[in-house]
């Protein structure tokens, strides 16, 4: 169980949190683009956010599946 916890923590840290941090950064750059009237930059940053969030969602789904599998594998 300890190994699974370490694995889950590492996956969330390395992939999910990084993706969310990058999305926040891109959202800020998008806002700056809008404020500056630079629609092209704003759209470019916006288009970068979706794959980051999609990847984070997929990663979390994998984590949930791992946790479910571990829970059912535990001896009662």
């Amino acid at each position: 169980m300890a190994a699974l916890c370490d694995h889950v923590a590492q996956v969330i840290h390395d992939r999910v949190l990084q993706a969310l941090a990058l999305s926040m950064l891109q959202a800020d750059l998008c806002r700056r683009g809008i404020e500056a009237g630079d629609r092209e930059t704003a759209l470019a940053e916006l288009s970068g956010i979706e794959p980051q969030l999609q990847a984070a969602v997929e990663t979390l789904r994998g984590v949930i599946a791992d946790l479910h599998a571990a829970a059912h594998a535990q001896p009662r």
Partner: protein, 228 residues
């Protein structure tokens, strides 16, 4: 113009950070590195004013790289930009000589502000972490007034304290030292009482501040917890 080097193993984040900082009139990103060894080469080559440093990177981690940069090029200011909000990482970074510690989920404006503060000789610690620094400072300051109990520790207790500072769990310490986990738990309890700390975090800080644990000997290098 403040000349900045970015050190982060996440290329997309590095690129986003570059776009962010280059929108600031007084900041120029002059170089990038993707690991702790490369950033030292880049600093040597480019002599930047400020390095924005991630903590968990390949080859050499951000703590070790910070320590080396501060030692070899003391005029260069290193600001940590990390996902890690744990106080162990914060204290290790400050011990290594970092001129700031901010989190990757911080508002983008704060990143530029931290760069400017470091350039001006100041320091910025993420507001959510600053209280941990103050709490620890108060605790350590009050301890300076009382007897230092480190001399009462046995060799085994000192070793356990080092392993706690490295981020190892009781079970991992037990495996490492060939003890039962319950033995580790009991002996750590005695050790904590001797040095007057309440928990593992305080014990880790105690070990680091008393020179018992090398600063670079972090959870990252032990592989026990997450890099990042």
């Amino acid at each position: 113009m403040i000349r900045v080097v970015l050190a982060d193993d996440h290329q997309l984040f590095r690129q986003g950070l570059r776009r962010l900082l280059e929108s600031e009139r007084d900041i120029q990103v002059v170089g990038e590195a993707e690991d702790g060894l490369e950033v030292q080469r880049v600093v040597q080559e480019l002599s930047p004013d400020v390095v924005l440093m991630d903590l968990s990177m390949a080859i050499t981690d951000g703590i070790s790289a910070t320590r080396e940069i501060v030692r070899q090029w003391p005029q260069v200011k290193v600001v940590i930009l990390s996902m890690h909000a744990e106080e162990g990482h914060l204290f290790q970074a400050l011990q290594a000589g970092a001129a700031g510690y901010i989190l990757k989920n911080t508002a983008a404006d704060q990143v530029a502000a931290a760069v400017r503060a470091a350039m001006a000789g100041g320091a910025v610690v993420a507001p959510s972490l600053a209280n941990k620094v103050l709490t620890e400072f108060r605790r350590m300051a009050s301890k300076l007034g009382v007897e230092d109990n480190i001399g009462q520790l046995t060799e085994v207790e000192l070793k356990m304290l080092q392993l706690v500072a490295s981020g190892l769990s009781n079970k991992e310490i037990a495996n490492r030292m060939c003890f039962a986990e319950s033995t580790v738990k009991n002996r750590l309890s005695v050790t904590f009482q001797k040095i007057g700390v309440a928990d593992r975090t305080q014990a880790a800080v105690y070990a680091i501040t008393h020179g018992l644990a090398p600063i670079g000997q972090s959870t990252e290098s032990s592989g026990v917890t997450t890099p990042g």
